[in-house]
Amino acid sequence: MSRTLQKQASPESFLPVPAATFHILLALADGDLHGYAIMKNVAQRSDGAVRLGPGTLYGALRRLLQARLVEESGKRADPERGDERRRYYRLTPLGLAVARAEARRLDAIVRAARRKKLIGERPA
């Protein structure tokens, strides 16, 4: 994820995006979330198949922040989780473009797999 600023202009230069990172981008596509909300979102969407620990999550978030795909949207308390103020994160326009580009890339792969009848009506 450590690309040059020149490369950052093109969303395709970030592809392929690591699975954990793509899950974080997908979670943030819903809106601003704090760390634990991102973890919960990822676990729920993947039916528990992808579980991010705090180290993996914040390591990925740090790289996303450095690449300017994600930005902090302030500190505030989550009414559901007590009074502690938490950092919220949101996608930048570049982050959204990268998420879209990665989704298109994966979609093309899935369509190819479907044409080969590896998945779909007759899964292997």
Binding site: G53, P54, R62
Partner: protein, 270 residues
């Protein structure tokens, strides 16, 4: 020991900078996990340990790469400062008309310290840590000896001679915790050196009232990179024995400015 305290201990596996930035957030997330999960279950702790074991080394490696770049820049700076020290010592030698025993010894020790510093910089660039450590320790010893033999050493030189090897030694001996600190101290010295030089030179007037350059100006300019306070030597010697001429000071430079007046910078022509 409760779960949060254990997790705080585990957080020490992460690089200090990362911990400072995200440690509190990670503790908050862990607290949420404890609230929603079963802390007593073995599975819970296996997941926690797996997360730390997987993410901490990767983040450590990233942090080390940054430090390596800083260390290389600092090593280049050290090579330049070592060369500068040698040139300064040669300049000082040329400026002096008489060479007393202690003066010669101080110059020799100063050159040795500068050479060793230069060698340490080269060794760091070649990634020979052991050689770099030995050269730095030897440089420090030579420098301390030079300082003891010749107490009129400039603050500029003392900063380079003491802080640079000590900073590097911290960086090379404690790579896990203090390498960033060590490398940062070296860079700070590098940044401070031009400022000190500028401040040092600007504090010296170019000419005095009679149009001739003050004595401290003549001597300090010529010798600032190795022994900048030759003027202070005169000051001290003038206090102890007003009739004596200090060794190592050129007769012509003494004759240029008379009478002498003692100022904060040493002796200046009035």
């Amino acid at each position: 020991m409760n779960a949060e305290r254990i997790y705080r201990l585990l957080l020490r596996a992460y690089p200090p900078a990362f911990r400072a930035e995200y440690g509190q957030e990670m503790v908050l997330v862990f607290r949420d996990q404890c609230r929603d999960g079963d802390v007593r279950a073995l599975r819970f702790w296996v997941r926690v340990l797996w997360d730390v074991a997987r993410s901490a080394p990767a983040l450590r490696a990233e942090a080390t790469r940054t430090v390596e770049v800083v260390m290389k820049l600092a090593a280049i700076l050290t090579v330049l400062l070592g060369a500068y020290g040698i040139l300064g010592a040669m300049n000082e030698w040329g400026a002096a008309s008489q060479h007393a025993g202690t003066y010669v010894l101080a110059i020799v020790l100063g050159v040795a310290a500068s050479l060793l510093l230069l060698g340490a910089g080269v060794a760091i660039l070649l990634q020979n840590r052991q050689a770099a450590r030995l050269a730095l320790v030897a440089s420090l010893v030579c420098f301390v000896a030079a300082r003891l033999v010749f107490p009129w050493m400039s603050i500029f030189l003392q900063l380079i001679g003491f802080v640079l090897p000590v900073g590097f030694l911290i960086a090379l001996y404690w790579p896990r915790k203090s390498s960033t600190l060590g490398a940062a101290s070296i860079v700070l010295v590098g940044l401070a050196v031009p400022q000190l030089c500028r401040a040092h030179f600007h504090s010296i007037p170019a000419t005095n009232a009679t149009g001739s350059r003050p004595l401290s100006c003549v001597n300090t300019r010529r010798t600032s990179c190795f022994v900048s306070t030759t003027g202070k030597r005169i000051e001290r010697l003038a206090r102890t024995n007003p009739d004596s001429q200090p060794t190592g000071i050129s007769r012509t430079s003494l004759q240029r400015t008379t009478p002498l007046s003692i100022t904060g910078e040493g002796i200046r022509g009035s």
